[in-house]
């Protein structure tokens, strides 16, 4: 039993006290995170990622279901001593400098003074805030606060790191740095569990993922499993697709990719028949390639093919 996180039938219903509205933010979610893996908790805005994470750190109580973290109950002293947590859009005591803030937390963790000082310095260097050590947090940008948040999540040298949208608020360079950092944490033997609604760059990062939508797990497994399901071929042809061909079975999508070039996405099983039909129609086939589904496509498919889902993915 080396599950670092075990979640079973976890549910959370929010009740707004005066308006009689119930929001079932998480609807019976089950998944396990194994020691030493990078686990992506993915889904569009409002999927219930933050709510689930808050239940994993004891900030909110589940309505029903069970969550175990490092073999214990979420939020207890013994568990939280071994966990690092980055909240979504973190905010800190803004009258402190990052060094002072980390020192307060270091005291809470019970780290001796010398170790605190040494760890704070190296962590601030690690997240690229070595030069901003003496500045008050009030003057920090969103991206800088995100970096402070990462530093405080690593202060106790945790076994398990829970990061809620660690890439948000960062530019592409910053995102790359976080991704590299997560990979390094994994190399150190730590377990990384992070949520994200942004998929750019993370495909190679995750060992396993859960895709959450409207409070339910839609997909779970290794990325390889998820991305090879529904394998397809991509065909580039010169010119436009005649009307007669656009309704053929197995044709998943067509789009114009350049002047006079059309791209077809075709189910692998239907690819031979499609190629024959294209040649019969005297179209020039420029390229045929194998292509799995991308995480982005899977995501959009999960979120519903409407423009709202697509926008959430992009946002």
């Amino acid at each position: 039993m080396d599950d670092v996180i075990a979640v079973e039938g976890l549910r959370k219903v929010f009740r707004t006290p005066f308006r009689r509205r119930r929001v079932e933010a998480v609807k019976g979610v089950t998944f396990q995170v194994r020691r030493g893996e990078i686990f992506g908790f993915l889904g569009p805005n409002g999927a219930g990622k933050t709510t689930t994470l808050k239940m994993l750190v004891g900030l909110i109580r589940p309505t029903s279901g069970r969550a175990r973290v490092l073999g214990g109950d979420p939020g207890t002293l013994e568990v939280m001593a071994r966990v690092g947590f980055l909240p979504e859009q973190p905010y800190f005591y803004d009258y402190l400098t990052p060094g002072e803030l980390l020192d307060v937390f270091g005291q809470v963790f019970g780290l001796p003074r010398a170790l605190r000082r040494q760890r704070i310095d190296s962590l601030l260097d690690l997240v690229g805030l070595g030069d901003a050590k003496g500045r008050v947090l009030r003057k920090f940008s969103k991206g800088m606060l995100q970096r402070v948040g990462i530093a405080q999540a690593l202060l106790n040298d945790p076994e398990l790191v829970l990061l809620d949208e660690p890439m948000s608020g960062l530019d592409p360079v910053g995102r790359k740095e976080i991704i590299d950092l997560m990979a390094r944490l994994k190399d150190q033997g730590k377990t990384v569990f992070f949520s994200s609604h942004i998929l750019a760059d993370i495909e190679r990062l995750c060992d396993r993922v859960v895709i959450l939508h409207k409070g339910e797990v839609k997909h779970a497994g290794t990325l390889k499993e998820l991305l090879t399901q529904g394998e397809r071929k991509e065909i580039l042809v010169a010119g436009e697709l005649p009307d007669g061909l656009s309704g053929r079975p197995g044709l998943l999508a067509t789009d114009r990719v350049g002047p006079g070039v059309t791209r077809l996405a075709v189910e692998s099983a239907a690819a031979d028949a499609m190629l024959r039909a294209l040649l019969d129609a005297r179209l020039e086939v420029l390229q045929v390639a194998d292509r799995g589904i991308t995480l982005e496509e899977l995501f959009v498919k999960t979120a519903g093919s409407g423009p709202v889902g697509a926008r959430e993915v992009a946002g």
Binding site: K54, L77, F85, Y95
Partner: protein, 268 residues
């Protein structure tokens, strides 16, 4: 029994941070300066008084101003400091550390206690200074009266923290002031209950409510000894110690209730 009140180290970390927060907050510093100014200017009132009553006014009014301002500071800070943490979500990174919520509350309390002590010393300095200026003789009972004033502010702080553990800041402020006003006038109820006339002697329901108030609320007249000071009745350290025990009992009660509610609360 070990750990009943939590880890001193963690409580101290939060207390220190609470103290720094107030020290770096311009609004709080402004409040402090205004308080000292108020005490100093309250002394100007005495200029209007008749000469032989001057000493009385200076002593009584000065002490009352200090006690009231301590309460004002206790209520505003007690309410605002907790609300700010929830509103700005700084609690997310604090409560997810290996620390009990009761320890966070205790830390806030001790940080505020230190701030109230500093405010008290500064206001007392203004008070004593103006007494010396007018040749009013100083008595060591004044120190005891001031310590009692501080205790009252500590009790009110714990009430404010209790209400902020579940109510909005405005409601918490109103409730806390309500407890202060009721607690200040509880001795009136006790007198009425002891008497043989009036509604409280005859109406059973009214009597029950009054009794509940007497039992369920701290009697703050314990901490307000301006009259004794004027009349020259000695206060004595044994009285201060007894009042301290009474005060501590109420604080622990309010802290325990606040912790109970706070532990169960969702930080969504």
């Amino acid at each position: 029994m070990k750990g009943l009140f939590g880890s001193p180290r963690r409580v101290a970390a939060i207390a220190r941070n609470t103290f720094i927060e107030a020290g770096r907050n311009r609004a709080f510093i402004g409040l402090g300066i205004a308080a000292i100014g108020l005490v100093a200017s309250s002394m100007a009132v005495s200029g209007l008084a008749i000469a032989d009553q001057m000493a009385r006014v200076l002593v009584d009014f000065g002490l009352f101003a200090i006690s009231l301002l301590e309460v004002v500071i206790a209520v505003t800070m007690g309410v605002i400091l907790v609300f700010k943490e929830i509103d700005r979500k700084t609690f997310y990174v604090v409560l997810t550390k290996p620390i009990r919520r009761s320890e966070v509350l205790a830390g806030k309390f001790f940080g505020l206690a230190a701030i109230l002590a500093i405010a008290l010393v500064l206001m007392a300095a203004a008070w004593v200074g103006s007494l010396l200026l007018r040749d009013v003789p100083l008595r060591h009972d004044m120190v005891q009266a001031l310590v009692l004033t501080w205790m009252q502010a500590l009790l009110i702080t714990s009430v404010a923290l209790f209400f902020s553990s579940f109510a909005s800041p405005v409601l918490s402020g109103v409730f806390t002031l309500g407890v202060y006003l009721a607690g200040t006038s509880i001795y009136v109820l006790e007198d009425l209950l002891a008497g043989r006339k009036g509604m409280l002697a005859t109406n059973e329901a009214a009597r029950a409510v009054a009794k509940a108030a007497v039992v369920g609320l701290p009697d703050l007249s314990v901490f307000n000894l301006g009259k004794e000071l004027i009349l020259g009745i000695p206060i004595g350290w044994d009285y201060v110690a007894a009042a301290g025990a009474y005060c501590a009992g109420w604080i622990v009660l309010f802290w325990a209730l606040a912790a109970l509610i706070f532990e169960r609360r969702d930080f969504a």
